[in-house]
């Protein structure tokens, strides 16, 4: 078997990683929804300002980013050793480690563990990995109810909706929409509930309190796992995570295998980078860490499910593997002009925004997500915001090349690109082509603009005039005037 960085390669990932429509079509409803555009614009603008303020007060922020990048790179280079160390340490401290090659395997493992406890309801800490594998739906089909306890995730669940942001999954909702969802779906919402944020939070709090106290099993993800001691870490803001991680008898944590850090010293770097990048806070309110099982304190049964689901396949891409450095802070979403307009659902995957446009195709293979690498203007704002310096624009360009290279049949675009390459690789042909383009002057010369062009350029002229080619190209002018000297 072929291995990359010491890891055997499992098949591509499956689960909630691609949509049914290509990005340009999937973006249309959001672009046409003025309310959604306002919600997203307001929310991303607010969080951008918060992040900029707290990042600005750290004098060695750039050094921290470099450290984060270096640790991630070094960790990936010896991922096999770190994962085996993690497994040994977790096991030695009373936990059990399960290896899941894909979403189907992970769901089966979690379902069987829950069934063995006899529980029919689990409480959940917000987790991208369990969203990725569609765990809630898998549990439901086994007769087990999963209750999301993060406020925004609860709003998404009660609204029978999909998350649209990594950190703020209900960012597309405003408070009046949330009130409506609570009144319709919560069951125990107070009759006089209003859309005041505090009252909405209190309603969710009392709704969830009953579930926390009754829960026998909790399911979480993990922000980090420290290999040297087998310690897992979850950072959060609401305290719901702390409840889930401490109250139930059984704890199941599903973690993408790239979330590992070798040492506590490494963890220190990321605990500085993550909250400032993510929520725009100096430190998040709750950081929970646990190491195996502690007799008489906290969950007495602990399972760690290490999820591959396309990650080792991504490792096989020497350039693309950098996407696995992501710590899921979502800073790139908040600065992305495309995300801000199109919203998270347009990406089809649970991972939206710039990082989603590189991670999703990496996990599924590019054919299943061929439009995502093109969902960017390559403006570069994401790279500047990334706390671990993932060069997202370069990865997007790389993935676009993979999309083209893996396509078997020619398309109108590929034929046009080959023709353009042929024309432009010779000065003679190029000069002739731009002279010939002057024929277009017949269309727009009189009005000085061109308002309609045939497809595919009609996409341009739907909202923008096209320039009328000038009577003389630059090279013609240069030749005629000796570079302006004879004018």
């Amino acid at each position: 078997m072929k291995t990359y960085l010491g890891m055997p390669t499992a098949p591509a990932g499956v689960g909630a990683l691609s949509g049914s429509l290509p990005f340009p079509d999937a973006a249309r409803p959001a672009l046409a929804d003025a309310q959604l555009r306002r919600n997203l614009g307001h929310a991303t603008r607010t969080i951008r300002a918060k992040r900029a303020a707290v990042v600005g007060e750290v004098s060695d922020w750039e050094e921290l980013r470099l450290a984060g990048q270096a640790i991630k790179k070094a960790t990936m280079a010896r991922l096999d050793e770190h994962l085996e160390r993690l497994e040994r340490e977790v096991t030695a401290r009373g936990g059990r480690v399960h290896w899941a090659t894909d979403a189907v395997a992970a769901n089966r493992i979690v379902t069987e563990i829950v069934q063995a406890t006899g529980a029919t309801e689990v409480v959940k800490v917000k987790s991208m990995a369990t969203q990725e594998i569609g765990l809630n739906e898998a549990l439901e089909s086994a007769g087990i109810t999963a209750v999301e306890t993060d406020l925004a995730e609860l709003i998404v669940q009660l609204g029978h909706d999909r998350p649209s942001h990594i950190l703020v999954p209900a960012i597309h909702r405003n408070r009046s929409e949330i009130l409506e969802i609570f009144q319709r779906e919560m069951g125990d919402a107070p009759a006089d509930l209003t859309d005041e944020p505090r009252r909405l939070a209190m309603a969710a709090r009392s709704h969830l309190r009953r579930r926390f106290l009754a829960a026998r099993v909790a399911v979480s993800g993990a922000n980090f796992a420290v290999a040297e001691t087998g310690t897992l870490a979850v950072v959060e803001s609401e305290g719901n995570g702390r409840m889930c991680l401490t109250l139930p008898q059984t704890l199941i944590s599903v973690m993408g295998l790239e979330k590992i850090v070798p040492t506590w010293e490494d963890l220190g770097v990321f605990l500085q980078l993550l909250p400032r990048s993510s929520t725009g806070e100096r430190m998040n309110p709750y950081t929970s860490m646990w190491t195996g099982v502690t007799p008489g304190d906290g969950p007495q049964e602990f399972h760690l499910v290490l999820l591959d689901n396309g990650r080792t396949a991504a490792l096989a891409d020497e350039v693309g593997r950098e996407a696995l450095h992501c710590i899921r802070c979502s800073a790139c979403l908040n600065v992305c002009p495309v995300y801000e307009r199109a919203g998270g659902h347009a990406y089809g995957s649970v991972y939206p925004g710039p990082i989603g446009a590189v991670i999703s195709p990496q996990l599924t293979g590019v054919a299943a997500n061929a439009s995502l690498p093109y969902a960017s203007t390559l403006c570069g704002a994401c790279f500047d915001a990334c706390p671990v310096r993932i060069d997202i624009p370069a990865l997007l360009v790389h993935l676009r090349a993979r999309v083209v290279e893996e396509r078997r049949l020619p398309t109108p675009e590929s034929i046009a690109m080959a023709a353009a390459s042929w024309l432009m690789s010779s000065p003679k042909r190029f000069g002739g082509a731009i002279r010939a383009a002057r024929g277009v002057r017949l269309v727009g010369r009189r009005r000085g603009r061109i308002s309609a062009l045939p497809p595919p350029l009609s996409g341009w002229t739907a909202s923008r005039d096209a320039p009328v080619p000038p009577p003389e190209t630059f090279r013609e002018w240069w030749r005629r005037t000796g570079g302006g000297r004879d004018e």
């Binding site: 990005f23 340009p24 973006a27 249309r28 672009l31 555009r37 350039v319 002009p337 495309v338 307009r341 199109a342 093109y374 969902a375 960017s376 203007t377 390559l378 403006c379 570069g380 704002a381 500047d384 370069a394 360009v397 790389h398 676009r400 090349a401 993979r402 083209v404 290279e405 675009e413 590929s414 690109m417 080959a418 353009a420 390459s421 432009m424 690789s425 010779s426 190029f430 731009i434 383009a437 603009r449 308002s451 350029l457 996409g459 341009w460 739907a462 909202s463 923008r464 005039d465 320039p467 080619p469 000038p470 190209t473 630059f474 090279r475 002018w477 240069w478 030749r479 570079g483 302006g484």
Partner: protein, 246 residues
């Protein structure tokens, strides 16, 4: 004090075909500053559109051609952050990815001698007052590739602030992308248009007569929108302002 520099003008295919005045302005400006401008007539296109759309194999002949044409020159100047950015940050990598180490090193060498106009003026020639005169109300849009690929910083603004007669007004949310993005503008036309709408709103809020940038491609996009809406607001390339005199 810099002595006379022999500058090879990398005019870019877009300027050559559609915006020759930008190339003429760049030529006049550099000459006025006492430097020699040559136009290597064999130049065509840097291939950025191919690279950024995924057609790296089709880009290779263009990258090879560009490197051959410009290799003899010590200073290569483009009136474009995006095309200079592609030469500097993509050419060598694309060649290396295609398993062409010889081309990669040659392209890397050309890249090290390639400058965007404002970088060349401020960093190489050491001037931030070019003696220009432009009595108009202007707002400046820093294009994404000049800002975040080349990191030109405030060089264009320093040049503009020293222009005589200019009324330079700050553009709100200036560092936000205009939505062009090359083939993005066609492939994702609706999203591109949504971004353009916000850029135009900000431009119009300044009540500037003209919006200025260092890239004709972004100006083609912004200008195409402003023209469609009959706003009366013009676009003007940085080189055209800097080349203007009383």
């Amino acid at each position: 004090m810099v002595t006379t520099v022999r500058v090879a003008l990398f005019v870019t295919c877009l300027v050559d075909a559609l915006y020759p005045d930008v190339g003429k302005a760049t030529t006049r400006l550099l000459r006025r500053l006492g430097h020699e401008v040559v136009f290597p007539a064999a130049q065509t296109c840097c291939g950025q559109m191919h690279v950024n759309t995924g057609y790296q194999r089709d880009a290779l002949p263009l990258i090879r051609h560009h490197a051959e044409v410009f290799d003899p020159y010590d200073a290569i100047v483009a009136p474009s952050g995006s095309c200079a950015g592609s030469v500097r940050h993509q050419h060598s990598d694309v060649a290396a990815r295609a398993g062409r180490p010889g081309l990669a090193s040659r392209a890397g060498s050309v890249a090290s001698r390639t400058y965007e106009l404002s970088e060349f003026l401020v960093d190489v020639l050491g001037v931030d007052d070019v003696g220009a005169y432009y009595p108009h109300r202007v707002t400046y849009h820093p294009t994404c590739h000049s800002l975040r690929v080349l990191r030109v910083g405030d060089r264009p603004l320093r040049l503009l602030r020293n222009v005589g007669g200019i009324d330079l007004v700050e553009l709100p949310d200036a560092d936000q992308c205009c939505g062009f993005g090359g083939t993005f503008a066609v492939k994702n036309a609706d999203t591109s248009t949504a971004m353009l709408a916000d850029k135009m709103r900000n431009v119009l809020s300044t009540r500037a007569e003209a919006v200025c940038a260092g890239d004709s491609s972004c100006l083609m996009h912004i200008g195409g929108g402003l023209s469609r809406l009959r706003t009366g607001t013009r676009t003007v390339h940085l080189a055209e302002i800097l080349a203007s005199v009383q």
